[in-house]
């Protein structure tokens, strides 16, 4: 008599495997559904004004006049786009040198206690909530600027300073990782040739890790570009293109924060705010793309 081979398909571990796989696939699918619907919803609201012919794309992007409540309303968002870029670039300019120095301090100058000192500092700085940064900016930086420099204190400079502290940890941690993963023999051969530490850092280490450090800077800029509440608290929220650093201005995020609750859903003004959200979202894609490009360069 032949013994029938046992059916293995429905053994316990097969069922377990199947359930586990199904559950995990569901989780991944959910992620994809979330992002697709997010892009779809924000984009469909964001282009509503352009589709209905209420506002022209060029008027929205390059118009400098934002007066939605006037008799002939105009929805020029250029002041806000300019404000966002200005504040972001300034913040990156302030934060990058500081962060790169901190990363060099942790990895090249005193790798032992430097890391022990700065690592928790970076972690804590990135843990402080953004509204707290806004509060400190409002009660320390703004009065300081008001008393020492021209202007009201609130404005582009205050926004950039607050943001630069907020993005310090992002840039520092990425730069420190990049520096730490550099092959040791590169440095050693430079020292063997008789180079000083600064010569090694400036001619060997920084050029080699440049794409990786730029990744950190771009990530920091992405964070600064999307930050809403801290900037809104210190920038002054005037709908004009700022002519000096100490004038108040607006960013895309600050206008959305203030306007979204006070406009009725579906009105042209509300839709213009959604168009700004769409611009923010597209900028996120640009930042992600930049990071990917830099990472690819880094691998070679």
């Amino acid at each position: 008599m032949r013994v029938k081979p046992k059916k293995t398909r429905f053994e316990k571990h097969h069922i377990e495997n199947f359930i586990g796989r199904a559950y995990m696939s569901f989780c991944v699918l959910l992620l994809i559904v979330i992002i697709v619907s997010m892009v779809y919803f924000v984009a469909s609201k964001g282009i509503a004004n352009f589709v209905s012919g209420e506002v022209k794309v060029s008027d929205f992007l390059f118009g400098t006049k934002w007066s939605p409540e006037a008799d002939t309303p105009s929805y020029g968002a250029f002041p806000f786009i300019a404000g966002s870029f200005l504040v972001t670039l300034l913040a990156a300019l302030i934060a990058s040198p500081l962060s790169i120095c901190a990363a060099l301090f942790m990895t090249e100058i005193v790798p032992g206690w430097g890391k022990k000192l700065l690592q928790p500092v970076i972690e804590l700085l990135s843990g402080i909530p953004s509204v707290v940064y806004g509060f400190v900016g409002l009660s320390v930086i703004v009065p300081f600027l008001r008393n020492t420099l021209p202007g009201q204190g609130i404005g582009v400079a205050a926004g950039a300073l607050v943001l630069s502290v907020m993005i310090l940890p992002t840039i520092t941690s990425v730069a420190a990782d990049a520096l730490a993963s550099l092959p040791q023999n590169l440095k050693e051969s430079s020292f063997a040739l008789g180079a000083t530490r600064w010569q090694t850092i400036s001619r060997v280490i920084l050029p080699t890790t440049f794409p990786a450090i730029m990744t950190g800077v771009v990530l920091g800029m992405a964070r600064a570009f999307g930050e809403a509440l801290a900037v809104q608290m210190v920038i002054g929220n005037a709908p004009f293109v700022p002519r000096s650093l100490f004038e108040s201005a607006s960013t895309l995020t600050s206008v959305i924060t203030l306007g979204m609750g006070n406009t009725t859903m579906g009105s042209p003004q509300n839709n213009a705010l959604w168009s700004m959200a769409l611009v923010l979202m597209l900028m996120t894609f640009v930042f992600v793309l930049l990071v990917r490009m830099l990472e690819r360069r880094n691998k070679i």
């Binding site: 520092t172 000083t196 608290m233 979204m260």
Partner: protein
Amino acid sequence: MKPRTADKIATAIIVTFALLIVAILVGLLGYILIRGMSHISWDFLTSAPQKIRAGGGVGPQLFNSLFLLVLTLIITIPLGLGAGIFMAEYARPGRLTNFIRLVVEVLSSFPSIIVGLFGLLLIVNTFNLGFSLISGALALTFFNLPLMVRITEQAFRTVPKQQKEAGFALGLSKWKIVTSVLLPVALPTIITGTILSAGRVFGEAAALMFTAGMSSPRLDFSNWNPLSPSSPLNPFRPAETLAVHIWKVNSEGLAPDALQIAAGASAVLVLTVLIFNLAARFFGRFIYRKLTASKRMN
């Protein structure tokens, strides 16, 4: 300039800048805590806020923040674990995996205000859940999920390969290996990461303004029926969190002591995040020691 002098100058600049960052943190924390601590009292932590008069507290806001955090973690932990394990153990390199990785990356770099707006559109208006705790928790889920996925994936990748191979050699099924061999080893890292991400969620405000709402109804802390509108446990009531409250008090506060309230609330927020950080470290080490025989976590 002689290379030696240049080296000395550069070193001095680097050290100065690095110490400047430490000084910024010490100054920030010192300012927040010293200004805020004097205002924190039991009464401040438990009483309801006042609109126009002085002396309001942050009781409901503090409770809302914690409750929202718990709700969010209940939703995100299982989902994030599932997707993270998939990415670490099951996904084969290919187009689909690249796409999922891109999704996670984009989702985690979306500004929180976009997440809030999406929540407003989908959860609050389309699903008609209104400004409520559950809307806020779902919005925070979108915000926290990519983080959880990343934490889980990294934790699983650090598990030594031999552990997995030993499991296969014993003839265990893949799922069994994942749940009873890899998960325990990865757990301390996952817990540490989760607590740290909880700190981020706790301080989040922009995503909540449009989903959890900017007001808190009168709460009756003796009513624990989750369906009654005045019960603190009701997930369908609007809930202003501590971070949103700080923003509101600073931007449009009418109470004469608005600045002190903001200072006190900021101190509470920062202290809580500090506690989260310490707890993450302590808990991770504790669990690592419990689950493995080693004394130290590296």
